[in-house]
Symmetry: C2
Subunit: 482 residues, 2 copies
């Protein structure tokens, strides 16, 4: 393990100073190699995770698209945020030197892979893609749920990197919890990312913060993803909403960070839930998840004031979906059991009185969440709704209208993050192009001779990256708000 | 104190949702009010800090310029990082919804003021200016070194905010260490900033990380700011370098985070240090600093292998500068006493053999630092120099050529930060326009009806902010690196 850390650390200087366009070509090569190896990758992925072939092939495609998107981000160079301030003898606070600022890679990143996306949030997943694009070598701590797939993926990535002229050690792989913790404590690791449970994420966050030299720790810890359905929405399209809800809760056996765990529905209104009954048993990802889900499900079913709409069952490593219904008062009284994430096919319908304000209850119940959603009527608007949107927006990284949170597009405007406990750092995202910013730090060169400047800071701009210039004399107008 | 937190928390929704251009006008009003009150502010500042009038008037101007610069940043709206992804039926991973992302204020920020800049890093200083520009109300924990000035400044800021139509409670002030710690633990505080010592900063960082809901903590903890002088530079302009060094070490009685604490000079070369002798005693900021500086100075003077070039003295609350000289071997053997920050007028000259590589020793000696510098000859370049620059660049937030690190321009390309222990978060800055990013978090609206969109996300763009658009169909070309 020490050797793995030494290897990625040794790769950092070369990999980090490579022209981003060259790193971009290597990321595309990695994507192409994974695509070419699909038929080798899918069988172990199916065997180790129990996820169906279609879902896994789609996820592999998402993974390669993600790598290509980050290749584009790297090649475009805007991520370097180059700022060139001209020397300014007339600067309002006295002569200003020539200042040139850009972002440089933080250094080796430790990436704790997730269980539920064996491709897209694992060895070659989003955290790896964004860190590599930034110029940081990545040491992946494999998830124990798919060790063989992890080894195979790492070997394909390393081979593709080397063939593209990059150090193969820009990606390393370790197995085991103790090894992961030891790496997190290692001085050579400059940042860490994690996707998983609140408990494990909190423990690792605490270790990162307690280091003699603390490092940035980007943990995505999951959430309850509350969704509010208004009376007007139900009146317009109750069956469609019910069907969408069932599909979103039970897809991938409910093992998605963005699964809607709380659905607020007007009391008394018809809302069909038979979509849950027909789903049948689905294999859970691994024994640890089965164990945790069994416990959470029993807590929920055992809570007084909860009506069981679809009991489901757990048998061996497979679970049928469970759906319960309760009211706002019960939820407020049992928030620890009912309003916490249950990782698996389970959701809680909460009936509310549409004649009363809902926002204060949500404010009390809902903690930071990756997503929050509303289903509203066509053209619906009201102070009641605005208040609900205000509270949901305060607590979520993504606010959805008339849709379901599962299925996260990988695009520039995607946000996958949110206030604690959704993540350990609300200012960042782990999906979408902005994710690259987690692995960069700014450096300013002051009065540096042209010959010694890093390429992106040079006036002749050999890497052809965007450069934002501040001219001399500008400070005289600051605050005039022209 | 609880009342102060409640007040800033209550101001958050209104203040955070105000059009940035209106907040900008309020920041300019605050700057103008401080300028108008200069004659009331300077006397207590002089009495409480012992800093000379000229320095304090300059610092007050810097503070008002900083407020105006952040007014411009707010008004321009680019800080919102608005990204609009068009709905895309042909998206490569299946239909993409309409996604609109921008940055929103984190919420109430707790700002621990510094001792050494009673204006620029205190009540109305850079952290406050950037947080207010972001839309976050600020609760300042006053530094005990200038309580009266803090009260007066806060009252001027609050008055100006109110007159500009903002809630006066967008700024609050508390006094006392216990009150500061209690506020840092309070659930309503969303982020904290700090400028001060490693010891205090580490303690507060640990408290922020250990909260049930951890929050971002931006601490600037100071550094040693190493400077390397090459033989060629000395041959060209030794007297100018010596004079600049003395002025940088002794300015503001050495109580600047960017004071050069280690100067690497070629062994055997002439280097005049008589500039230190003529400085005379300067008052230190407060008894705590005098105590700490006395201890550090005695450690340095008592280290075997250290030659005293200028002994200086400490008498009452005033100190004369102290300058010592040693060699690389001694420094490597006593890094804890010699290579740690000494906050006050003291620096260590380190003689090195220019025929040997210097970079490895620097790599071993120098931790994360706000700045690092080199003085080089005209046109000088060599593998030796490149290696030194590489190591210094790895460890510093700002790399200076032929200049001195004290005096930090407030501009777009400034970086005031660096790897631990210079700061608790290497990805951010506390000076310069990028500092606003510390107090914002992203939120994405998915398929939101136009009538419910926040103004900066609307197609008609009523706030006239920059919007970056991704068109439908773009994903087909990702990875083609055209």
């Amino acid at each position: 393990m020490t050797d793995s850390i030494a290897a990625v650390a040794a790769a950092a200087p070369e990999f980090g100073s490579t022209e981003p366009r060259r790193r971009a070509r290597a990321l595309v090569a990695v994507a192409d190699a994974l695509t070419a190896a699909a038929d080798d990758l899918i069988p172990p992925a199916m065997a180790e995770t129990g996820l169906p072939e279609g879902r896994l092939r789609g996820e592999l495609k998402r993974t390669t698209v993600q790598l290509k998107l980050f290749a584009d981000v790297a090649a475009a160079g805007a991520f370097l945020d180059v700022r060139l301030d001209a020397a300014d003898p007339d600067f309002v606070l006295g002569p200003r030197p020539d200042l040139r600022r850009y972002l440089v890679p933080l250094g080796p990143v430790l990436n704790f892979a997730a269980s539920n996306f064996p491709f897209a949030f694992s060895v070659a997943g989003g955290d790896t893609a964004s860190a590599l694009a930034a110029g940081c070598p990545v040491l992946v701590k494999a998830h124990p749920g798919h060790p063989r797939l992890s080894d195979l993926t790492a070997s394909i990535v390393r081979g593709a990197l080397a063939e593209a002229g990059m150090p193969a050690d820009a990606l390393g792989l370790i197995h085991g919890q103790d090894e992961g913790v030891a790496a997190l404590k290692d001085e050579r690791i400059a940042a860490a990312s994690f996707t998983g449970s609140l408990r494990a994420g909190r423990a690792l966050f605490d270790i990162a913060a307690a280091r003699p030299k603390p490092i940035p720790f980007y943990g995505e810890l999951g959430s309850t993803n509350p969704v509010v359905v208004t009376a007007a929405a139900l009146a317009e399209r109750s069956p469609q909403i019910a069907a969408g809800f069932a599909a979103s809760v039970t897809g991938s056996a409910g093992q998605l960070c963005t699964k809607p765990g709380l659905l607020f529905v007007p009391a008394g209104a018809d809302f069909a839930t038979d979509g849950f009954g027909g789903v049948g048993p689905q294999r859970l990802l691994h024994p640890g998840i089965t164990e945790g889900f069994t416990r959470r499900r029993e807590q929920v079913l055992g809570t007084a004031g909860v009506a069981v709409l679809c009991e489901g069952s757990i048998s061996g490593d497979a679970a049928e979906p469970t759906l319960v219904e309760t009211d706002l008062a019960t939820l407020l009284g049992h928030r620890d059991t009912l309003a916490d994430e249950a990782f698996g096919p389970l959701s809680v319908i909460v009936r509310y009185d549409p004649a009363m304000p809902l926002a204060p209850a949500i404010a009390e119940l809902v903690e930071g969440s990756l997503t929050a959603g509303v289903h509203i009527g066509s053209g619906e608007d009201s102070p009641w709704l605005r208040e609900v949107l205000g509270v949901l927006g305060d607590r979520a990284g993504r606010l959805l209208f008339n849709g379901w949170p599962t299925g996260v597009a990988v695009t520039p405007a995607m946000q996958h993050g949110g206030p604690w406990p959704a993540t350990t750092n609300p200012t960042t995202t782990s999906v979408g192009t902005a994710a690259i910013g987690r692995f960069l730090r700014p450096v300013t060169y002051q009065d540096c001779p042209a010959a010694l400047l890093p390429p992106p800071l040079r006036d002749d701009n050999p890497w052809h990256v965007p450069q934002t210039r501040s001219a001399a004399g500008e400070s005289a107008t600051w605050g005039s708000l022209a």
